[in-house]
């Protein structure tokens, strides 16, 4: 089984290296196939690992292998350790499974781009980094994977490198994530100082229970999770990240990387349990994010940005679940979200592909008649996102909402936020759906629709979307709180849930959430259906995304720019530049004076030489 884990980790890396070293020898399409096959191989290896894990009893399922001591510092040893336990295998299956579908989709989507090899090398690198993140057996390896997914995300957001906005978005994402990486590294320093361990078991056993240190450690980890998962207040990079190609948005900014924060909280849940206030903070931030992102999604006009804000909103749900101790529910929503959000992005990709790159929903409309297949899969994604039974989102989201009721008074606040969020989800999701697909085709669509040989997309794009649609329909049946809960049992030995909703709480939450979601959809139908093809009046607060970008601009960017200008004017130019100017000027003046002695007459040099020697001779003779 451990061999399978290693193969799972290393195959994508091998794919990335093969594409990079192969260069021109590999055709563009060949690069796509190499990337797809290695990712699928990783998925197969993950399945093998999973099956062999099934054969063992609960506590013996986790296994770690160390290949060599990776880093040694004094008494600290950090091995290159892979940990395959119940939690990481779930993540491995999601990452490699959804990843291979999306990479296969990219073969069709990216066809005709000029730099497909670079794209697929980056994609493989990303899958490797993400697997390293989830398989790392200690926090240091997790941090390395954490940094590397940030890097590959940066590279892929900035894939269209001739587009200035893409480069700016890539930089923004990288800086935000680097901030999170830094706080996480600080938390790890504290852990090393106080426990001496960074492997999970050792760190959890030695970590202080309560107190400032425990709070600081949890805060540092939370900072990393917030940045990676685009939660308040470090969320501003995710909408801009939609500058990348659509499959990248699906893989990195919806299905896998942005959910790493949730994985981190579940993985290090004892550290959060030792610091309950920080856990509450995380839940509160998650709830705030899910509301705020829902409001902003209402007024976005870019189809990918609508989905991006909905991603932030859904990760907010996961944060709420993971932070109040409903770990299996959080992971469950992570999984179903990976399915239906990837589906939404990829079917949006079909639309964008067919409209040759247009992403503005105001220009779309009536696409349902022209692209019936896409309409159906998009509708499935929407229903799963809104949480209509029996689609996937119903089972996972409602479980989280129900679990909030177990969290005391604060839990009721979260419960309320989650329900409002459910209404907003229905509203913005179906707003997007109705605007894009209902009614008669708009003039823009008639003019620009460009079907692929009469089909809605290349084969590789259509079948992957269909698989994801199937998963979005049936994926939720994996767990249904009151009746069967294999995921909770499966994750039990690693992350024992703290909050488990009772049956009547499940019932209340489910009914309320479903009704509110449907109400949102109905409002959307009334407002945006074919009867009134109006596009909403923008609300300034939402349109400006709650002024977060402006806030950061005022707090950080402008003062930094001002300080830099001031330092340049009052420190650099007078002190550094001035001193250099003075030194050169003095040297030049001195050299001019000395240079006069250099008159070019050989005889004067010789005279000086002889005079010098004579004087020396006289001195020697006199002092003998």
């Amino acid at each position: 089984m451990n061999a399978a884990a290693w193969i799972c980790l290393l195959l994508p890396l091998g794919g990335a290296l093969a594409i990079t070293l192969g260069g021109e020898r590999l055709s563009r399409r060949g690069a796509g196939y190499v990337s797809t096959l290695t990712t699928m191989g990783a998925f197969a290896a993950a399945i093998v690992a999973f099956v062999s894990m099934l054969g063992r009893s609960g506590d013996a399922r986790g296994a770690s292998t160390t290949s060599w001591t990776w880093l040694e510092a004094g008494t600290y040893h950090f091995g290159l350790t892979l940990l395959t336990d119940q939690l990481s295998i779930v993540m491995m299956l999601i990452v490699a499974g959804v990843g291979s579908l999306i990479v296969a989709y990219s073969v069709g989507y990216m066809e005709g781009e000029s730099e497909e090899r670079r794209y697929f090398a980056y994609m493989s690198l990303f899958v490797f980094s993400m697997l390293l993140l989830v398989q790392g057996g200690n926090l240091l390896l997790l941090l390395s994977g954490w940094g590397m997914v940030g890097l590959s995300s940066y590279l892929l957001i900035g894939f269209y490198q001739d587009r200035a906005s893409a480069i700016a978005a890539a930089k923004k994402a990288f800086v935000m994530n680097a901030f999170g990486d830094a706080t996480m590294a600080l938390a790890l320093f504290l852990l090393i100082q106080h426990t001496g361990h960074l492997d999970y078991a050792g760190a959890f056993a030695g970590a202080p229970h309560g107190g400032t240190i425990a709070n600081l450690i949890a805060l540092g980890l939370l900072g990393g999770a917030l940045a990676k998962s685009a939660q308040l207040p470090l969320h501003t990079w995710l909408p801009d990240a939609m500058e990348g190609p659509t499959p990248v948005s699906a893989l990195i900014h919806a299905a896998t990387m942005v959910t790493a924060g949730v994985y981190l909280i579940v993985r290090t849940h004892p550290l959060f349990e030792f610091a309950p206030k920080v856990a509450d903070l995380a839940a509160g931030l998650g709830a705030a994010t899910l509301l705020m992102a829902g409001f902003i999604a209402l007024v976005q006009t870019d189809i990918k940005r609508v989905i991006a804000y909905s991603t932030m909103s859904q990760i907010g749900y996961m944060f709420v679940g993971a932070s109040i101790g409903a770990y299996p529910e959080g992971m469950f929503h992570l999984m179903t979200h990976a399915f239906f959000k990837a589906l939404l992005f990829l079917s949006a990709g079909l639309v964008i592909h067919a409209l040759t790159g247009e992403q503005d929903i105001r220009k779309m409309g009536g696409l349902g008649k022209l692209m019936p297949h896409t309409r159906w899969v998009f509708l499935i994604g929407c229903l799963a996102l809104v949480g209509v039974p029996p689609f996937a989102g119903f089972f996972s989201k409602d479980a989280i909402i129900a679990a909030t009721l177990q969290h005391g008074a604060f839990g009721y606040v979260l419960f309320g936020c989650c329900l409002v969020g459910a209404f907003l989800t229905g509203l913005y999701t179906f707003r997007c759906f109705f605007i894009v697909f209902r009614g008669e085709p708009s003039a823009f669509v008639k003019e620009h629709l460009h079907l692929h040989h009469g089909k809605e997309g290349p084969l590789s794009m259509v079948w992957t979307v269909s698989v994801l649609a199937t998963l979005s329909v049936v994926g939720g049946l994996l767990q249904f709180g009151p009746l069967w809960h294999p995921l909770t049992d499966w994750l039990g030995p690693v992350a024992e849930p703290v909050a488990e909703a009772s049956n009547w709480q499940e019932a209340i939450a489910s009914i309320a959430a479903v009704l509110l979601g449907l109400a949102g959809a109905w409002v959307a139908y009334e407002l945006y259906s074919a009867k009134s093809m109006c596009v909403p009046k923008p609300v300034a607060l939402f349109e400006k995304k709650f002024y977060w970008d402006e806030l950061y601009d005022t707090i950080f960017t402008r003062p930094a720019a001002l300080a830099a200008t001031m330092l340049g004017r009052f420190v650099e130019q007078p002190v550094i530049g001035g001193s250099l100017t003075m030194i050169t000027r003095d040297v030049r003046v001195g050299a001019g004076g000395v240079g006069r002695a250099q008159n070019g007459l050989v005889r004067s040099y010789i005279l000086a030489l002889i005079a010098g020697v004579s004087i020396l001779a006289v001195v020697f003779l006199a002092t003998r």
Partner: protein
């Protein structure tokens, strides 16, 4: 020990050296300067051989031979330069060659 005392040798060697040095200083023709340098070297050679004899050791003579070899090569280079200057119709006057002044 036969012959004059070491002091005479040293005196003659010193005189030769000073004559050569004055020649280098006051003459302007490179050819003469080269000759004067040879006289200086010969003065030094005389001193070396005198001391070798005085001390009763051959080292000084070996040095003298080395100095002769160097003097010969120096003359080759110097004369080569002078011939080159002549070919280019450059006036043979060291005071005119002042391009390297500061």
């Amino acid at each position: 020990m036969h012959g004059p005392d070491i002091r005479y040798y040293i005196a003659i060697a010193g005189m030769l050296f000073v004559i050569g040095a004055l020649g280098v200083l006051v003459r302007r023709s490179p050819l003469i300067i080269l000759l004067s340098v040879e006289i200086m070297l010969n003065g030094a050679n005389l001193a070396l051989i005198a001391f070798a004899r005085h001390v009763g050791h051959e080292d000084g003579q070996v040095f003298a031979i080395a100095v002769m070899a160097i003097a010969a090569s120096e003359v080759v280079i110097g004369l080569g330069l002078i011939v080159a200057m002549g070919r280019r119709n450059i006036e043979l006057d060291v005071d005119k060659l002042r391009t390297l002044r500061g």
